[in-house]
């Protein structure tokens, strides 16, 4: 077993999703290499070399890899990865964009969104919006997996002392038919939604973009990330990247507080693995109460300020 992890990073730091991928890799074996691909990424390589469980960090640093466009990185990864048995990336927007392109170049039928590693060739993944769990056995020699980050604890960022090597990138050329134009990242002092210990989410009942401040106030009191249901995002109350659900972010915090969210299957698929779920909703028959550990049937505009004040 030799496992290659494709690190997700922001040029300067590794994203927490990379730590989840390392833990997934440890379920397969101990020969774990992490590939850091990008431009000016030595700080990322340094930090990952200290992570428990990592045997080797390989750095592919080249100007052509800036912004990590999959057209530029996938062919390099495909040529580099041939000697491995498994390639793992997190099932985030980054991994979902990149890994299928690598898999097709390697003629391997990758497995998306793995939640459990049964053996070297057998994996569980949710299908039908999480309404069924399928077990798949792969016959491909080289297996590519994206892993659902919430299904694997983050690896420790200390205790490791992996060797750092530079990959030969001399023959890398730019694909040329795609280029990065711009990025608009939501600026927030709050923790990242998928990594937060506490998440407070608002739904359609919040009623407006202005009213969403009531959700944010509670979140800030708890040091929590802010999420939203698809209905709230579609109505323009919250930005797109707040969306929790099958087609948005999958979260599994210690505490998930659903405010004014009815609990559509789509939303439940994104948060039902949370440790403790609190639901606050005016409608006593809202489906969210069927999964909530603690339900409060009340008008959110009355109880949320109280909750924020008393915590």
């Amino acid at each position: 077993m030799s496992i290659l992890i494709i690190a997700e990073h922001s040029d300067s730091t590794a994203r927490p999703s990379t730590l989840n991928a390392i833990t997934a890799a440890t379920k397969l074996g101990s020969d774990i290499s992490v590939l850091v691909i990008g431009k000016d990424v030595s700080a990322v390589a340094d930090s990952l070399s200290k992570c428990a469980g990592v045997a080797k960090v390989v750095v592919a640093d080249k100007a052509e890899f800036e912004h990590q466009l999959p057209e530029n990185t996938a062919s390099f990864i495909a040529s580099f990865a041939k000697s491995f048995t498994h390639i793992i990336a997190p099932a985030t927007a980054f991994g979902k964009n990149l890994l299928p392109r690598v898999a097709a170049l390697l003629d391997s039928q990758m497995i998306s969104d793995v939640i459990e590693i049964i053996s070297a060739d057998t994996f569980k993944r949710p299908v039908y919006a999480g309404n069924a769990i399928a077990t798949f056995q792969s016959s491909d020699a080289l297996k590519l997996l994206t892993i659902r980050t919430t299904a694997f604890d983050p690896a420790s960022t200390t205790g490791g002392s992996a060797a750092i090597e530079n990959a030969d990138v001399s023959s890398v050329t730019a694909f040329g038919k795609s280029k990065f134009v711009s990025a608009e990242l939501t600026k927030s002092a709050r923790p990242e939604l998928t990594a937060a210990k506490v998440v407070v989410s608002g739904g359609r009942a919040v009623g407006s973009k202005e009213n969403f401040a009531i959700i944010e106030k509670l979140a800030d009191k708890l040091g929590a990330a802010v999420g939203a249901s698809r209905a709230a995002v579609d109505a323009g109350y919250a930005p797109n990247d707040y969306q929790v659900g099958q087609t948005g972010k999958i979260v599994a915090p210690s505490l998930y507080i659903a405010v004014g969210i009815s609990g559509a299957i789509q939303h439940l698929a994104g948060m039902k693995d949370s440790k403790v779920i609190v639901a606050i909703n005016k409608d006593p028959d809202a489906p969210i109460f069927q999964v909530a550990d603690y339900g409060l049937v009340a008008d959110l505009f009355e109880v949320l300020p109280q909750l924020t004040e008393k915590l």
């Binding site: 579609d234 797109n240 109460f289 069927q290």
Partner: protein, 254 residues
């Protein structure tokens, strides 16, 4: 610009699925089937590009059993010009035709039709893989713009805004290119009755997948399909004070 839009027939998103007793798959008999919602967005986007005179022809293709032609008629009622049905005996949801095989079949159709743009859903809501578009881009050596929330023609290229974790990213891709759609790219229109009638007259070609020279043998074996772990509901609390007390002393999460 010629646009090819692959679409898939899936269990309607409002249906609560049932797993077969022998765990071999999801019960599809007498279950309402519809076009995959992300693919409807793809068709809508292609038709809008045609209405802006950017696209000249919109071709819709599906791979599945003969009855899958109903999603082609739906796509043609929205505004696609013609349809191609690629028939396969394999299941298209789970344990049958896999994303890599679909991408290879589509590669053959792209070679035949020579589109300048392929727009497709980012994932189907049955197997939820989110792979086919990116795989097709790799096989064709084309640029890819996955999870699009906005598509604009700028000169000879496309500027595509993509939904990423933490916000949005805009990339420029030269055509021919692959775009996969995210939820907020557009809101698909309802087909009008006259357009539904007109769609019945539009050309529909049928191709047997076996004639396309692609090995579609599954690489994965589905060995089990089970219900997800059930989460049982908890208790109702009467007040904010009780809620805070429970979270502090019972759940110990704050």
């Amino acid at each position: 610009m010629k646009i090819l839009v692959p679409v898939k027939r899936v269990v309607d998103y409002n249906v609560k699925i049932r797993i077969k007793a022998d765990q071999s798959g999801v019960e599809l008999t007498n279950v309402k089937m519809s076009m995959n919602p992300f693919d409807e967005i793809a068709i809508e986007e292609a038709v809008r590009l045609k209405e802006k005179n950017i696209a000249t022809e919109v071709i819709v293709v599906t791979i599945g059993p003969a009855i899958a032609q109903d999603v082609l008629r739906t796509a043609m009622a929205i505004g696609a010009d013609r349809g191609i049905l690629v028939t396969t005996p394999l299941a298209t949801d789970l344990g049958g035709l896999e994303p890599l095989a679909v991408a290879k079949l589509l590669q053959k159709l792209v070679a035949k039709e020579q589109p300048d743009l392929v727009i497709m859903g980012k994932q189907s809501i049955d197997d939820d893989s989110n792979q086919t578009g990116q795989m097709l881009a790799a096989l064709l050596d084309w640029p890819q713009a996955a999870f699009a929330s906005k598509v604009e023609k700028v000169g000879d290229a496309l500027h595509v805004t993509r939904e990423i974790d933490g916000g949005l990213e805009t990339v420029e891709v030269a055509t021919p290119a692959i775009v996969t759609t995210d939820l907020r790219l557009n809101t698909p229109r309802y087909a009008s009755l006259p357009n539904i009638m007109k769609a019945k007259q539009k050309p529909l070609e049928t191709i047997d997948s076996a004639t396309l020279g692609v090995d579609t043998t599954p690489r994965l074996k589905m060995t089990a399909l089970t219900d997800p772990p059930k989460r049982s509901g908890g208790i109702k609390v009467a007040s904010v004070d009780e809620l805070i007390a429970k979270l502090k002393t019972e759940a110990k999460v704050i």
